[in-house]
Symmetry: C2
């Protein structure tokens, strides 16, 4: 599942997304124990990359009953007239908002993510940083883990603290979702 697809031409660079993850209870709950850190995973450009709780459906999954079956998905595409590929993120959770920097995404809303952005849902924080590449066949994702809140870091970079909600209460849990 990790390195099944390799570019034929190893000289060609791939579009690359580094995701630094943070959860305040990682120490206790080990929600990221299914994530392979610090290694690049090759994916085909035509893959809709799903993140969530369900390990049968999601390429990357979180060991946490608070997470939706599918929480969100990433997809590459090429805007008209552009030579670069860009990532779009779609919220696939009915009950939890996905917040990209300051923008709240409801279920099935989507958004092109900037080169660097902070994605949040529930207690999760994911700092996504993109590097452009040439390959039209593959892209790569790697994960790092932070032991400190990334939102604090973002706040220090003049992100306003108001107008953002980020709730995930146990009463809202629904196994069907």
């Amino acid at each position: 599942m990790t390195t099944a697809f390799q570019t034929a031409d190893t000289e060609e660079t791939t579009t690359f997304l580094n995701i630094t993850v943070y959860h305040p209870e990682q120490e206790k709950k080990q929600v990221f124990r299914a994530i392979r850190f610090c290694q690049r995973e090759h994916l085909r450009v035509d893959e809709l990359v799903k993140f969530g709780r369900n390990c049968d459906i999601c390429r990357f999954y979180f060991m946490d009953s608070h997470v939706s079956r599918i929480q969100f998905a990433l997809q590459l595409f090429r805007p008209f007239g552009s030579s670069e590929l860009v990532f779009e993120i779609m919220n696939l959770s009915k009950r939890v908002k996905l917040i990209v920097d300051h923008v709240e995404l409801a279920f099935l809303n989507k958004l092109i993510i900037p080169q660097r952005c902070l994605v949040r849902f529930g207690d999760y924080q994911l700092l996504m940083q993109k590097q452009d590449g040439q390959s039209e066949d593959f892209f790569e994702i790697s994960f790092d883990m932070s032991k400190t809140s990334l939102w604090q870091e973002a706040v220090s970079l003049s992100v306003p603290e108001t107008g953002v909600t980020c709730s995930l209460s146990p009463e809202e849990m629904d196994e069907d979702e």
Copy 2:
């Protein structure tokens, strides 16, 4: 694969896409023989619906070596502030342009399709007609077949004949794609 997912509330309408297909050599080549006509197929809203030659990857496939492994994909999403779901179409073929009405999509380009549009690649013509629905969980696709060119019909509906290319030469075939 066809009706595995059913809406719990049968009163709820689903977003529905009817696709009328045409290929000039269907009689001889039976390129549509893997398509189940005149029945609605239920699909989850989070599915990236792929069309192409490869039956292991594509939800709907064409029995034709001229078709790319994955030719194109459809995906539902909800624009910000909208109550309706819309379909986006992405070209996933490197060698064949996908033409939506008058707009040419290169590899990895994508476009929101209007309520009614003619999608073409190579000799294929697909008239897509959407009906809005309420379900947030599922949508439906059905297929009809036309024995006459849909492009001619579109032309009669004042579509200009110039500025559109629609070529698929055997020399361009590439099994890797």
